[in-house]
Amino acid sequence: MNAIELTHVHKSFGEFAIQDLNLIVPSGTICGLVGENGAGKSTTIRLLMNALRPDGGTARVLGVDASSPEFRAVKEDVGVVLDEAYYPETLTVGQVGKVMAGTYKRWDQGTYDGYLRRFDLPGKKPFKDFSRGMKMKLAIAVALSHQPKLLILDEATSGLDPIVRDEVLEIFNEFTREEDHSILISSHILSDLEKLCDYIAFLHRGRLLFCNEKDQLLETYGVFAGTAEQLESLREEAVLGREASGYGGVRALVRREEVPAGLELERATVEDIILFMVKGAK
């Protein structure tokens, strides 16, 4: 079963539109959703959770149509962390726990308390006095404490210091050790996604440019570094994007199979691939 299936989803807001979005996240995998600000990542997440109705197409989560009445029950199985925590500012973490215990049928207070200790969150301090990192930790603790099968994370690691971010990524990794657990994570921190994800989906101006296995992506592309003349000698379809590097040279993202076998290429990171593609598209 697929954890997430978006089929020909379309949603228009006038100047901006999600266009013919097709995205599949197989169950048991982690998919990173990448894109610039305003590319449509948060809109995609809202469409998935039926917080927005698409103009066309269907969104299915854990096998259930998001627009169907049955989807409310599916939300019990989905832990969501948005780009901000959005809890009312006067609540304390203890009160958030009590409210969530009445919200989710499978709320596990022991798990929640465990995360509060692990994240060192104060029990009696009101939410408004939390730092951004603390707020995000609380949101992550809530998302993980009702036995979800799917985590949907929208910039969940932003605002966390590198040590906590690493710990949180490890928690997400642990989460997917259960074979029916899946994650869709959007982030601007591409190195996190490279570390964590099995699939990378790239949204650009409301369109999905690709959704590929990360390993396949890294094998497909390489970074050429050399002179402009050397680059010009390559076939046009081999080059996806280029930039000037220091000392008059150029760097370019190239398809490995389209360049001569002897040409030395650097290993491309996910960040290289995305950045060059955005530049290429512009």
Partner: protein, 195 residues
């Protein structure tokens, strides 16, 4: 829905502490005005909860959780009803206690009338607040109140004496509260879904 009402109680608790102080002082005076004032003031507590929701963008998060839109809307009515009922019972209890000394009896009909006025006030204002938010919703509420007051003023100018009501208030107020609630809740749901 219980969780949503619980959340709102946590959120308005600070405001309620001031309210409880005013409540204790005013409820000791056996006056119809005080009772109506306290209950109607209490019917506005849901707006405080909605204002906090708006400030924190709680509704964006709530949309990701297994709450129905019906639960979200109803919880605001339930919060108002619970607050009003609690205040009414408290007023009665205080006035009964004061009455032991002063010899005056608490007025149950005044309390029931106050509750009806509070419910009608909630019925009129909540749909607008849920649709347009607290700030703009309050403006609409003020326009409505001014509209009604001006209409009454014009009517009084036109006829020397207002005709006496053929239906007693004891029937009119509960009927108004029941009909108002029956119309207000579906309207609120429709407007909230349009948001």
């Amino acid at each position: 829905m219980k969780a949503l009402v619980q959340k709102d109680f946590y959120v308005i608790w600070k405001q309620m502490r001031i309210y409880v102080l005013v409540l204790v002082l005013l409820s000791m005076v056996n006056s119809a005005f005080n009772m109506v004032f306290l209950v109607v003031w209490c019917s506005m507590l849901p707006y405080t909860a909605i204002a906090y929701d708006e400030r924190s963008h709680w509704n964006q998060l709530a949309a990701m959780m297994p709450y129905s839109k019906r639960d979200i809307v109803l919880s605001k009515y339930v919060l108002g009803w619970i607050c009003m009922a609690a205040v009414g019972v408290f007023c009665l209890a205080v006035q009964a206690a004061v009455g032991i000394v002063s010899g005056s009896a608490p007025s149950v009909p005044t309390l029931l009338a106050s509750l009806c006025v509070g419910i009608i006030s909630l019925d009129i204002t909540l749909p607008a607040v849920l649709r347009f938010g607290v700030e703009r919703g309050r403006m609409i509420f003020m326009v409505l109140i001014f509209g009604v007051m001006i209409s009454i003023g014009v009517l009084v100018d036109m006829v020397d004496e207002l005709p006496s009501l053929s239906v007693p208030l004891a029937v009119l107020l509960p009927l108004g509260a029941a009909v108002g609630t029956a119309l207000s809740i579906p309207l609120s749901m429709k407007l909230y879904k349009e948001n």
